[in-house]
Symmetry: C2
Subunit: 497 residues, 2 copies
């Protein structure tokens, strides 16, 4: 695979000088057009040590407008990063739509380096590469353009290059201990890189292997390829101005005779007295468990979904008093801010992943994608269909980094909802919670129910199952949620970390 | 001062039970009204250890809607926080307009505790309290409502309270080693706290001392006071719907015979050949210095202000190639995002304060407040007048935490600007930079010049002086900026850290 980049490609100084001015103007114009479009560009500069990654990165910064570029390296993670899933730092560094992120060192660096150093097995490498692919796929599906360069050097070239760098006082600092170690491991590194590239050279984000020995050839090739890819993507975007409003394929609602929701016994209830006793009991238990979880740096993430007026807020208000206010945050999901809209829809949820030992409670969540956005047509068929896999991947990452994830669907029936709407209208300080839209939404009940059943079926994973809560009786619902949280916390704490 | 809170205030269970329901409804209604208004609320719960800060915080969370509250503690700073000025963590935790931040532990905790432990002198304590006052003043001036509670206990009450906490298994964890130490230092702590409160009990953010011994009295008092203050502020906001559009006091432009700008020799220039040589020289020098700065974790922050078409972008593009793209970020200041608009105008600049060893370059900056916002009337007289002090305070904090701060005003004359506008219109890929507005702005030249002179006069501090750059000759301007950056970096690196 790398042989194609060992043929001795060179470009003369004269040719370079002749070609660069047009390239620079092209890049600046492309950046300008990009700034008005609705997709981000990620450019990865990876490759063999000494192949000129830093040089190429810096030259790109010089050629383009540095105000609409951002370069990222990713050295040792900060403690705020270490306490979250591995990809949190990548999500937080994603460029917003219309701009460019340049990556030297990326989600590829650790998996490859760790396997080279034999810290992870081949099977683990495969898992990690699988994650890489999902990540890139998720971004590309959302419109991102990912351009991945692998700068290659033959073994001899690498040796010479490092030697040359070491000999000049200006550049000796660039050669690290790790570079020297990697040189010794050239053959191993090469074959592992080859494997990684083959695995991750997908149709939507292929690798471009560039011979690194000649700086002019390398830089011109990289620059020209970037220009070509961005322009192609811009032209495509012009043809289909907004792929998100593509007509959705027909989404027929096939009535199911028996659904999970239908099998819930909404008649379940608790007497006031029993409720009081249970509430005290579980709040005290949760208090103890939450304290231990905080102490042992176990984070929890609770998701509450349910019909309008299902009582999500009331449940949340029964849970939080058992915890220390300094250790939790409740996040109500409303319309995204413009910074959030400029990113993938999951970005706003990645933002709030808690530091170790803390709890985040979502009042509505990323499931809006497959519920309201699906039913109301804000997301098209492709978007909400692929959201199931994207969400499962996100949740897998959360649970893998030892975050306890609980998902509740609070279920009530249509009559109960109407009764609650009417009741709310009678209470002066609850009236604002009820709008005409709430009544309109009721007309879509069957479509919503269908979406809920799909959601539960497709996202009830072993690591993040749904808890369906019978909600017609508020007392029963509150105790069920509290007890479930207690039980899950307790078993998570029982596991050795 | 604290004697008022040692009188044995108590509230019976019956009275508490009677009063709480109305208080809760009131608080929820106030929160709802707040969510539609344009100011944030900061509630500080401070005081003696064991006086019930955590209890009160948790109860407030229970009484109010936890979705529009956020509680903050501030334990040991993370490494991302440690590498920035002390107040970075407070700025990043400020509630957006329309919401409430609850603080147990705040900007008061460290100064008081450190002086109690004799780690800082009385003079240093005064300095720190001065900073506290500036910070609060800045927020209040922007509309924030700050409510500060000091929960007090007499020496005997504190002793008893800690003992009671220690005896129960449920609460023993709350008593820390530090609490026990503080008890021994009760008298010292009390007199220092008294001093701190006196110093910082300002008209706009007074302290409320609350007797902490009786939980019901304490919690009811705190809750009622919060309700009263928020409602009062809401009523005030209704009277003056938007203080930011108050008619500005007359701001006459008094022509000055001689100004700093007038004394610049715009005839200064460099030949192309000389420029080439100087550029190479200073870029190489900057490359060395920037590398050392990165290595030694010295951060730099460069601000570029200047007339439209003054050549700020061109200068920035000559500076960045000397640095490693992974260590700097260029931030062009355009319209704020909605998250930025929901905060104090300085919030968006605090966001970008770099981690240790990195460089941030602003293409326009916080000085917009006293330039375009002043001249165009987007900020009223009070707002831009107080901005000078706010900016000086911000910059003082940056430089105190060893960030090298450089501010450049790139000066050109009116004729040169016109020539550049016309030239830009001839270049296809620069045309977008020129709009009708740019021409219109020229009519305000005198007003802008006046604002620039004021700005330079009022914000040229010892720690952050302005560098005025003669910009009619682009070559001269670029070399001047490069040389200045080199010189400042070199002397900063020469200083022992």
């Amino acid at each position: 695979m790398f042989e194609v980049a060992e043929v001795g490609n060179r470009i003369s100084k004269a040719e370079f000088k002749e070609k660069v001015p047009a390239l620079r103007i092209g890049l600046l114009q492309a950046q300008q057009a990009l700034s008005k479009s609705d997709f981000p560009v990620l450019i990865l500069i990876s490759g063999v040590d000494g192949a000129g990654k830093g040089d190429t990165l810096n030259l790109l910064n010089e050629w383009m407008d540095p105000r609409y570029l951002r370069a990222f390296a990713f050295g040792a993670p900060s403690d705020e990063e270490r306490e979250r899933p591995e990809y949190w730092r990548f999500w937080r560094s994603l460029p917003p739509k219309g701009s460019i992120g340049l990556y030297v060192g990326s989600w590829y660096s650790d998996p490859i380096a760790q396997h080279v150093r034999e810290e992870i097995s081949e099977a683990e490498l495969d898992c990690r590469l699988h994650r890489v692919k999902s990540f890139e796929r998720t971004l590309v599906d959302d419109g991102a353009l990912i351009i991945k360069f692998w700068l290659h050097l033959s073994r001899d070239d690498q040796k010479q290059r490092l030697k040359a760098l070491e000999q000049s006082e200006e550049t000796a600092w660039r050669v690290t201990e790790q570079d020297r170690k990697h040189l010794k491991l050239y053959d191993r590194f090469r074959s592992i890189a080859e494997r990684a590239l083959r695995e991750t050279s997908t149709g939507e984000a292929p690798w471009i292997i560039v011979e690194g020995a000649d700086a002019r050839y390398r830089n011109l090739t990289v620059g020209q390829h970037i220009l070509e890819r961005i322009n192609k993507r811009l032209a495509l975007a012009e043809q289909k101005p907004n792929p998100s409003v593509d007509p959705s394929p027909h989404d027929p609602i096939v009535p199911r005779a028996n659904t999970l929701l239908g099998s819930l016994d909404l008649g379940k209830s608790l007497t006031k007295k029993h409720y009081k006793a249970e509430l005290d009991k579980y709040q005290a238990r949760l208090g103890r468990l939450a304290r231990e979880a905080h102490h042992r740096k176990l984070s929890s993430l609770l998701v509450f979904e349910g019909w309008d007026a299902a009582g999500k807020g009331g449940i949340i208000r029964r849970i939080v008093p058992a915890m220390d206010a300094r250790s939790y945050q409740v996040i109500p999901i409303a319309a995204p801010t413009d910074e959030e809209r400029a990113h993938h829809y999951l970005w706003r949820f990645w933002r709030h992943v808690p530091r170790a030992g803390n709890t985040v409670i979502y009042d509505r969540s990323w499931y809006g994608r497959v519920l309201v956005e699906r039913v109301e047509g804000f997301a098209n068929h492709d978007q909400w269909m692929r959201a199931f896999a994207e969400i499962n991947d996100f949740e897998e990452q959360l649970t893998e980094s030892d975050i306890l994830l609980l998902k509740f669907w609070i279920h009530i029936d249509k009559d109960e909802q109407l009764a609650r709407f009417e009741a709310r209208r009678q209470v002066p300080w609850k009236q604002h919670k009820i709008t005409e839209e709430d009544y309109r939404n009721r007309e879509q009940w069957a479509a919503y129910e269908h979406a809920v059943v799909d959601m539960v079926e497709r996202t009830s994973t072993e690591y993040a199952p749904w808890t369906l809560v019978e909600g017609n009786d508020k007392r029963h619902a509150r105790i069920t949620a509290l007890r479930t949280f207690c039980d899950r916390l307790e078993s998570a704490l029982a596991k050795p970390k």
